[in-house]
């Protein structure tokens, strides 16, 4: 009997050694945070076989985000970079060789018509005024001031030709890609990460989450923030994007009233239909554009738009009750 046991143990030990040599190992969780792109926080979490593998993917992704950040910047110029500011400062001439900008302008124009004019990437002149007041933290822009700026928000003055030329024909018009840029950028960044061979990751660019693969213990879990406190709902995704537009993301308070960053192009004041809208969609750029569009649109129209785009959405209303699209529940 002893011999038998020793034999079994020997065989076990030998095969253990064999397996230890041929085994590929387990993936571990890695995480990194950047605060230098898109004026928000970017968090990248991935499961990789080694820290080296993770760092390589993170660096490549970060470089891509920095490039896009400069490209979409409306306030600053960078040496040797033709960006949105260049475009707005040189009306009429147009920019060539900026395929990402061209694609984003096309997406913006598409969503302008899909949302019935509610999502407008040419609203920069108005948003700029709100931006200044938000930075100061006091005062509210006057209706007259906003009306005057809104004369230069005609999106038909912005064009993206099939040849890849982006042009603005109104010198006073300011593009503001804030409603679509982060989602679009998160999609391109995700592609870079996948090109580096990393398949199981989640990337959060200021509330725009793009996911790929799964964690070892299941899908990625994304919490939907309760506008006041804690977590309102949780969704489980693998490959989909989750984006929330909410009145709590960027705001300032003046005389007891909260002024947030999502401006209704009709009233030129912060929209107050909902506290937040969360969208789940396969395409990160669409998810971002949809979340802003739905935040500005009436509920029924928004539902129809989400459905036509194959997206699911959760609206949190001012009284903290909520409305979901039919398919949203299957992610909860």
């Amino acid at each position: 009997m002893k011999k038998l046991v020793s034999l079994l143990l020997c065989i076990s030990f030998c095969s253990l050694c064999l397996c230890a040599c041929s085994g590929s190992g387990e993936k571990a969780r890695y995480n990194v945070v950047y605060t230098d792109v898109f004026d928000t926080v970017t968090e990248f979490t991935a499961y990789c076989y080694s820290e080296e593998e993770f760092n390589k993917a993170a660096e490549a992704m970060h470089a891509e985000l920095l490039r896009l950040h400069k490209l979409f910047d409306i306030y600053n110029s960078y040496d040797g970079v033709k960006n949105v500011r260049t475009l707005c400062e040189n009306p009429g001439t147009g920019l060539r060789g900026v395929p990402e900008l061209c694609a984003l302008v096309e997406l913006g124009k598409e969503y302008y018509s899909l949302s019935g004019g509610k999502l407008n990437i040419a609203l920069g002149a108005v948003l700029r005024i709100w931006h200044e007041y938000r930075e100061k933290g006091t005062g509210v822009p006057s209706a007259a001031e906003l009306r005057k700026a809104s004369e230069h928000t005609d999106i038909s003055k912005v064009s993206a030709s099939p040849e890849g030329i982006v042009a603005v024909s109104d010198p006073e018009l300011k593009l503001d890609l804030g409603a679509v840029a982060k989602g679009y950028a998160s999609g391109l960044a995700a592609k870079v990460i996948k090109d580096m061979g990393v398949t199981d990751f989640a990337l959060n660019i200021g509330g725009n989450v793009v996911t790929s693969g799964e964690k070892p213990n299941g899908k990625w879990v994304i919490g939907v923030q309760d506008p006041d406190e804690g977590i309102y709902a949780k969704v489980r995704v693998s490959g989909e994007s989750v984006v929330t537009s909410g009145d709590y993301q960027r705001y300032y308070e003046y005389e007891g009233v909260r002024y947030h960053h999502i401006i209704d192009p009709e009233t030129l004041f912060p929209a107050d239909r909902y506290r937040s809208v969360t969208v789940i969609c396969g395409d990160p750029a669409q998810a971002d554009a949809l979340s802003t569009a739905l935040f500005l649109m009436p509920l029924e129209e928004g539902k129809a738009l989400a459905k036509s785009r194959g997206a699911e959405a959760l609206w949190i209303l001012p009284d903290k009750s909520s409305v979901r699209t039919d398919g949203f529940e299957k992610y909860e």
């Binding site: 009997m1 038998l4 387990e26 213990n217």
Partner: protein, 169 residues
Amino acid sequence: MKRTAKLALCGLFVALAFGLSWVELLIPFDSLGIPGVKLGLANLAVMAALYLMGFLPAAAVSLARILLSWFVFGSFTAFIYSLCGGVLSLAVMCLIKRSGFFGCAGVSVCGAVAHNAGQLAAACALLHGTAVLYYAPVLFAAAVVTGALNGALLGRVLPALQKRFTKTE
């Protein structure tokens, strides 16, 4: 029992244990909201070996099953967890059985609890944290229940097994 009979029986129990660990994989406790809970069916084979042949054959069966699961289902982390659980569980069961204080069910319950304790210790070491301990009471309660059921089951079957396999002596 003859040596050849023991050898054959060991092989049989390894196969049984391995088959039962596969059956366990089919039961989706994770999706029922109590992740980490298992029936511990494989322990039936290990215990049968312990009662019929003693400590060393039982250890061999347990180790062979854990290694086989690792090769086939291929997760190194799971292997480490099973190994820690398996070693502690068998040691405890052997001592309790030798004391003669508890019956089959009692031995099985102690084994199941020890198995979980081993796995939790491994989890604490691997995850560098004690957050996992918050879940421990649920896991231990499940271990007590499944251990008792398994033990009761084996208690019923064991006399027949003993009759069948030890009479040939």
